[in-house]
């Protein structure tokens, strides 16, 4: 079976942590469904603590050893069995996910508390298991070592994410959820079709084994193209973004935060796995330029549409469409030929992902609090609202720093690294797009802040007061995005742990 030589085919010490990263959130779903009712909150927070501990332990092990963490399920090595693997980017994604999920749970604690006077209510009974379903699906995406397990992980993620959109019920959110599901299912079917073709050609779906065998032949090209398009539909890259704004804007704030910060990143992570790890021989400058070209279109189109929105939550959702575009600069800028700048681009791309996750979760929470306190989220009627909700608007502004790319913020570091790489590699056109995108982002963030803090208007009357603790959760996430700006402006070694040399990333 050719499994004796490869280092990645054996379990490493601490590999069991990867299994725990899947079991803990999954057990959370089951416990909540069984115990449910009045204890659902307590069960949720107990499991959250366990999941956070496993994630931190995984991160620490990879940080200390500087090596890939692997586990072979049931002792059956690939290609017959399934391997779980976590490299530097997996660990960093798992940590980001755990932080955002925990913050979301704290934010949603009051909204989805079990009712006092009834044994059960629909909201909490649906929300908490779905939150853990998203967590379980994301962790599965980050640690799976073969393309079919990744398909199952992706579906788990979709099935948990779609109902989050329509928690409120109502026609508009149901339509948004249904449209999201249609795009997502088309994406999974195309991905599965590509998987079938790859198995038929190479007889394995294990990523490590595929990377050694795959050659740039027509069938591999077609499979890769099908899988990429399928995943782009799930990532909502322009022009497959149509489902995103109504879905992310229609969900309750806690749901929007998870969907926008994490769920779309799951399928992006898979595109990176596919192109950099599974099929490195297929990487082609023209395909990379096309992906980044779509990313550029997303940045310009999403930002301009964000500027034209009249409702705050839709503005934030269109900003997600734009910010996803930056991630795709990874593909043309990280190449073997472009040492040492490809290392800068690699770090910049991932930092953009992490800082956008924190900033966008904070921004959706802030937008949710604003809508709750004012009873509406019409941007035109926000005049003077900054005086009534100072902390929430400061959170919105701090998160906005990261989206615009103003220092100090993770978004600045990320965009600076990408900008540097694109100029030094002679692909200056991406730098132009990044600069224009930053200006447009500045436009829509200041449009909101300018209204909220405009002089000459008294503070509007609040429909209801929002808890200080929830404002603090959103602020903490925005500060996470700001603190990412203190990462040194150079390739981060941790993000290169366990990377194959072919990725063109300097060690």
């Amino acid at each position: 079976m050719g499994s004796s030589a490869a280092m990645s085919d054996t379990a490493t010490a601490g590999g069991l942590l990867l299994v725990m990263a899947l079991i803990v959130p999954a057990s959370g779903i089951l416990l909540q469904l069984m115990l449910g009712g009045p204890f659902i909150n307590r069960v949720a927070f107990g499991v959250l603590a366990g999941g956070l501990a496993v994630t931190v332990a995984t991160f620490a092990v990879i940080w200390q050893s500087g090596q890939l963490l692997a586990y072979v399920v049931g002792g059956w090595p690939p290609p017959l069995g399934i391997a779980l693997r976590a490299d530097g980017i997996s660990a960093a994604m798992m940590l980001t996910t755990a932080i955002v999920i925990c913050a979301t749970a704290l934010f949603a604690r009051k909204d989805f508390a079990p009712p006092r006077d009834a044994p059960e209510a629909r909201g909490p009974f649906v929300f908490w298991p779905l939150l853990f379903g998203v967590w379980c699906g994301l962790n599965a995406v980050f640690v799976s070592g073969d393309l079919f397990t990744l398909y199952v992980a992706l579906e788990l993620l979709t099935f948990a994410a779609v109902p989050l959109v329509c928690l409120k019920g109502g026609k508009a959110t149901l339509q948004a959820a249904l449209r999201y599901l249609m795009f997502a299912l088309l994406g999974s079917m195309l991905y599965l079709l590509g998987t079938a073709m790859l198995y038929g050609t190479y007889g394995t779906l294990d990523i490590a084994l595929l990377s050694k065998q795959a050659r740039p032949v027509p069938v591999a090209w077609i499979a890769a193209a099908l899988m990429t398009v399928g995943l782009l539909a799930k990532t909502a890259l322009f022009p497959l973004h149509l489902w995103l704004p109504p879905a992310h804007a229609g969900a309750p704030p806690a749901g929007s935060a998870v969907l926008s910060a994490l769920v779309v990143k799951g399928s992006f992570f898979l595109i990176v796995r596919l192109w950099f790890d599974a099929l490195p021989a297929l990487r082609d400058p023209a395909a990379a330029q096309l992906l980044a070209g779509l990313g550029s279109a997303a940045i310009l189109f999403g930002s301009v549409l964000a500027l034209r929105q009249q409702r705050l939550k839709l503005l934030v959702a269109y900003s997600t469409v734009a910010q996803i575009g930056y991630l795709f600069f990874l593909f043309p800028l990280v190449t073997v030929a472009a040492e040492p700048w490809s290392g800068f681009a690699w770090t910049g791309g991932w930092l953009q992902l992490f800082s956008h996750a924190f900033a966008k979760a904070a921004m959706f929470m802030a937008a949710g609090l604003i809508a709750e306190a004012l009873g509406h989220d019409r941007i035109a009627d926000l005049k003077g609202a900054g005086r009534a909700l100072p902390l929430t608007f400061v959170t919105f502004g701090l998160a906005g720093l990261s989206l615009m790319g103003i220092p100090p913020s993770g978004g600045f570091t990320a965009k600076w690294l990408l900008l540097l790489a694109s100029v030094m590699e002679g692909q200056w056109w991406w730098a132009v797009v990044m600069l224009v995108g930053g200006l447009l982002a500045g436009g829509y963030v200041f449009m909101v802040l300018g209204k909220a803090f405009s002089v000459g208007y008294g503070a509007p009357k609040l429909v209801t007061t929002v808890a200080r603790s929830r404002e603090m959760v959103a602020l903490a996430l925005a500060l996470c995005a700001v603190f990412l700006g203190f990462v040194p402006l150079q390739p981060a070694e941790f993000l290169q742990v366990g990377r194959p040399d072919v990725a063109g990333v300097a060690r």
Partner: protein, 111 residues
Amino acid sequence: MNVITVYGVCATALVGLGLYGLIVNPQPLRKILSLNLLGTGVFLLFGVIARRGAAAGLGGDPVPQAMVITAIVVAFSATALAVALLLRLFEESGSATLDAVDADPAGSEGG
């Protein structure tokens, strides 16, 4: 043309039909059915690959067979979720369309 090729061509045709139906039909129910057609084509392709990889006296390579069972279960759950959402949408709005404006009530599908 041997049997495997015939099945392969059938799988391709099903994928093509499903994709066409999904893009062309505006009604969600037809989109769900088209997705199932597309899925059937993919599953059949797995079968073709299993048969082609037959070795050691087996009727087919068991790995793609195992994968297709998982994939069928996943596709079944996806269809169930989609139909549940569609029914709920019909209960809420009285029509089962994805149009933002309900301009013509007579043209609605009726679920």
